[in-house]
């Protein structure tokens, strides 16, 4: 065992941080309480962990994302069709933006 030479990043990828922040923010504004969140998240992790060992990194946040999407859809705060078209809208925005320029979603979708 060796001591880590540099501090580990708190979040490995920017989207982990964004997803974390969205969830904490929704909890703070009272959309769900934390035990409620933890129960749903635990269930997703357990389901994902049935087929393979989760490494606690990328797969952990994939489970987190699935949990949040499902929770919001189940409670009527998000519709699957809206999420799909926004996801496609963002993909198109990235593909249509010259490298180096800021990426903006089609205003019709915001």
């Amino acid at each position: 065992m060796t001591a880590p030479s540099a501090p580990e990043p708190v979040f490995e990828a920017p989207w982990h941080a964004q997803l974390f922040a969205v969830t904490v923010h929704l909890n703070e504004t009272g959309l769900f309480d934390w035990p409620d969140w933890a129960a749903h998240f635990s269930a997703t992790l357990a389901r994902h962990g049935l087929t393979r060992d989760l490494n606690g990194g990328e797969d952990y946040f994939n489970a987190w994302l699935e949990t949040l999407e499902t929770l919001l859809i189940d409670r009527g705060h998000a519709q699957p069709g809206d999420l799909r078209s926004l996801r496609e809208g963002w993909e198109a925005a990235y593909l249509n933006t010259p490298h180096g320029d800021p990426v903006h979603l089609d205003p019709a979708l915001t």
Partner: protein, 217 residues
């Protein structure tokens, strides 16, 4: 060290292909696009405030971390009255020091002694005392750690380089969304007379989870 438990690090970042030019902006990975979709939708509905998201990320990346917990431990080592109060009601004592917030609502401090070594896990997900330790490391969230530390704690400890005397019992605490634990590691030999500030430097994150010991000065 952590590699044995984390069983493979996260996927390579998407910036790995430099073999062709990018006429367009680099496409983020699939889940990142889904997160952007969520953010856009929730912002549109007035359910989230993008400025609040930045604030939360800044807090957890820069202002909250194991240094907070280390201050609590160093004070417990230095001040017997504080130690007693901490063991009786960690939530109140820690809040008095200004450490409160998400996942810090119900804190319990457990103290390592010659007789017992405490170690913390969350077998269901990844409950963790954020206000004191920040965001948990990858291995804490891995199936390998979550399952094995309960079954074979001494073996897991050995992988972290911690060998305990035979007579020391190992006690594993399973965190929940309601209760989170802070391990008070044993004060290391040779730290007598050190200031509280110097003591904080001996307190590692892992020593407050129980997978490590405090450093010796």
């Amino acid at each position: 060290m952590d590699s044995r438990l984390s069983l493979g690090q996260s996927a390579p970042m998407p910036h790995d292909h430099h073999d062709h030019d990018h006429p367009h902006a680099l496409l983020p990975p699939e889940p990142a696009l889904r997160v952007k979709a969520l953010e856009t939708l929730l912002t549109r509905k007035g359910l989230i405030d993008p400025a609040a998201l930045d604030e939360i990320i800044d807090t957890y990346e820069n202002r909250i971390g194991p240094r907070n917990g280390a201050q609590v431990v160093a004070r417990a080592w230095s001040d017997p009255g504080f130690r007693t109060a901490l063991l009786e009601d960690a939530t109140a004592v820690v809040a008095d020091m200004g450490f409160f917030g998400r996942q810090g609502e119900h804190m319990v401090a457990v103290e390592n002694t010659d007789e017992v070594h405490n170690i913390v896990v969350c077998t269901l997900c990844s409950c963790y005392p954020w206000p004191l330790l920040g965001i948990p490391p990858g291995w804490y969230k891995s199936d390998a750690y979550r399952a094995r530390v309960v079954r074979e704690p001494r073996k897991v400890l050995a992988e972290f380089g911690v060998e305990l005397p035979e007579q020391t019992a190992v006690r594993v605490w399973d965190s929940t969304a309601e209760v989170r634990y802070l391990v008070i590691p044993q004060r290391p030999a040779g730290s007598e007379g050190l200031s509280e500030e110097k003591l904080t430097k001996l307190v590692t994150r892992d020593s407050m989870i129980g997978t490590g010991l405090a450093k010796t000065p």
